[in-house]
């Protein structure tokens, strides 16, 4: 275990940012803290870094009790959403900062900085100033700067949040490759579930200062532990008290046993996929997702009558968050409970 968070509570005045949170992050993993804004995910990251002091609880980093240690002594690298570039220093000086503080020999610093700049693909920009870099370049510089001091853990607070969508996707994939190369235990905070699913080995979903679920991205999607996780991770529509994923909805032109009558409200083409919004005759709306071929075969038009049938639904018992899944395979009408 690289990072241990044990029963940590943190309040800001009356607001409870973290409510008795415990989490064990395995060594070498890339773990994502996922949650909406104000959920406490950034506070948890800052508590791990020592930038916030918890009101109760402990933080261990590689089996050392880090709770009383200042951020200088925790061996953490921290990357902020808005880069926190040292404005008056060149890229080289930025990356060298931690090494200079440690009074390493000049030649060694130079070699190490060159190596890191190559790693983050900024070779050739060493003498530039942050103001002359793009957002993506600044963030890669910030990453190189954090890695320079060989931190035990790397903490990234919404690192791609200030970048435009295309750069964000590129950097996300790049970060995953970098992690596979460098293998430093990494914790990344984001509110973007797609980002979480794409880069994470493990995801901790955080809501109102508590961890709702902690597991592999696939588990969160397939077996959400709570209504919150179900609705936050991946698209979902709610029909009466059941949750249905769009790709679990069958759309047919003819009635078939258990299917319900509905009217097509909207057809959205998303490249390979087509999203269909339907209004049920008995009331309520459903989102269906299908391949382009499927949509072409059905020749769906807005206002058209169709018959829909959820293949799989998930319900949560009121109050408990106990989930039950109902799966009805093609053709058969039997239901199996989870």
């Amino acid at each position: 275990m690289a990072i241990g968070v044990l029963q940590v509570t943190k309040r800001f005045g009356d607001f409870v940012a973290l409510d008795d949170v415990s989490l064990a992050i395995p060594s070498g993993s890339l773990t994502v803290l996922l949650g909406p804004s104000g959920s406490g995910k950034s506070t948890l990251l800052r508590v791990i870094a020592g930038l916030e002091m918890p009101d109760a609880g402990e933080v261990t980093i590689f089996d050392t009790d880090a709770t009383p240690l200042p951020p200088q002594k925790r061996g953490v690298g921290f990357v902020f959403q808005h880069y926190a570039a040292f404005k008056r220093m060149s890229v080289r000086e930025n990356v060298a900062f931690g090494l200079k503080i440690r009074k390493r020999p000049k030649a060694e610093i130079r070699a190490r900085v060159d190596e890191l700049l190559e790693l983050v693909q900024l070779q050739g920009l060493a003498e530039r100033y942050p103001s002359q870099l793009s957002g993506g370049q600044r963030q890669r510089m910030a990453l190189a700067r954090a890695l320079a001091v060989e931190p035990q853990v790397l903490l990234l607070d919404e690192p791609f949040g200030a970048l435009d969508a295309r750069v964000r996707k590129e950097l996300r994939a790049w970060l995953r490759r970098l992690h596979d190369e460098v293998h430093v235990t990494t914790v990344l905070v984001t509110h973007d579930q797609e980002e979480a699913m794409e880069v994470a080995d493990r995801v901790a979903v955080i809501n109102t200062g508590r961890i709702e679920q902690y597991g592999k991205p696939r588990d969160l999607y397939e077996h959400p532990a709570s209504e919150f996780v179900m609705t936050f991770v991946g698209p979902v529509t709610r029909l009466r008290n059941a949750y249905i994923r769009p790709h679990d909805v069958d759309v047919q032109l003819a009635a078939n046993g258990k299917s319900e009558e509905a009217t097509v409200e909207r057809v959205v083409h998303l490249g390979f996929e087509v999203r269909v919004e339907v209004e049920l005759a008995e009331g309520g709306h459903l989102l269906a997702q299908m391949t382009r071929e499927e949509a072409e075969r059905l020749e769906l038009l807005e206002g058209q009558k169709v018959f829909v049938r959820p293949r799989r639904t998930t319900t949560f018992e009121a109050g408990t968050d106990e989930s039950a899944e109902n799966v009805s395979p093609h053709g058969a009408s039997g239901a199996s409970s989870h």
Partner: protein
């Protein structure tokens, strides 16, 4: 539509004209007048005036007060600004408002406050008298009131700057192993330096020009506690207009130099944040 645009332009031209008239009548004309009267008696008279012992001492005193005030307001100003910008504490709003107090209160009252504290039978007077230190009617009191009056300029400039810069850079430096002191000198200070220079230049200008408070605590001892501004005051009082104009012109010249510096610092500071 076009007539409206015309009216708008007409109004703007009128306002601009008023503003320019104001500047010319109330600023440039008097300055030119001072320059005229100071230079009229000729170069020899300027040299003579500058050789007067009282004049030399007055400039010396003004320089000393300004220098100490700039250093102290610079250091203290940063400390107060850091507390105001970075710390959360009860009564912060009150402290924040109190910072502006010296700007709101008449300098004469500031002088009287100093008399109350350090003057004969003042609250702190017995202590300093026992140490044999003369505060009132001497340089220490003059420096104290000048600092009090000019410190808001530094705080008001630096505190918002620190707030705007945020703590991300500083906290990054911490995680990279830099101590708080290292972080201050390598990250914070370079980031606020132009704003700090702007604030201290303003407070220097204030320190040079201060009359009211210094007048009260100086005791008006000619050739001993007389600053350059007080000298000008006395010169006109005693019909030595010629010397008065010469010293006034030199003070004005120095203030204009400061003003140029202030404008430069202000622009650099604005650029540094963006």
């Amino acid at each position: 539509m076009s007539s409206q645009a015309h009216t708008g332009r007409g109004v703007r031209a009128l306002l601009l004209g008023l503003a320019l008239t104001y500047v010319v009548v109330l600023l440039i004309a008097p300055l030119a007048g001072i320059a005229y009267y100071a230079l009229k008696p000729g170069f020899g008279s300027i040299v003579d005036t500058l050789q007067l012992r009282d004049v030399q001492h007055a400039f010396y005193l003004t320089a000393v007060i300004m220098f100490v005030a700039v250093v102290v307001t610079g250091v203290l100003g940063i400390v107060v600004a850091l507390v105001l910008a970075r710390d959360r504490f009860a009564g912060k709003a009150v402290v924040s408002a109190l910072v502006n107090l010296p700007l709101a209160v008449s300098p004469v009252i500031v002088g009287l406050m100093a008399v109350l504290l350090f003057g004969t039978a003042g609250w702190f007077e017995p202590f300093f008298a026992a140490q044999g230190i003369q505060i009132m009617f001497a340089l220490p009191a003059m420096i104290l009131v000048t600092i009090f009056i000019s410190i808001p300029f530094v705080i008001r400039e630096v505190a918002p700057l620190l707030e705007e810069l945020g703590m991300d850079e500083e906290q990054t430096a911490w995680t990279l192993g830099a101590s708080r002191l290292q972080t201050f000198f390598r990250i914070t200070l370079p980031n606020i330096r132009w704003g700090l220079l702007y604030g201290t230049a303003l407070s220097a200008a204030r320190a040079i020009g201060e009359v009211g408070a210094v007048l009260i605590v100086s005791g008006l001892l000619q050739g001993r506690t007389e600053t350059a501004t007080l000298y000008v005051l006395r010169a006109f009082d005693q019909y030595q207009e010629e010397q008065g104009y010469i010293v006034a012109l030199m003070l004005a010249g120095f203030s204009i130099l400061l003003l140029i510096g202030i404008e430069t610092f202000k622009r650099r500071s604005a650029r540094a944040v963006s």
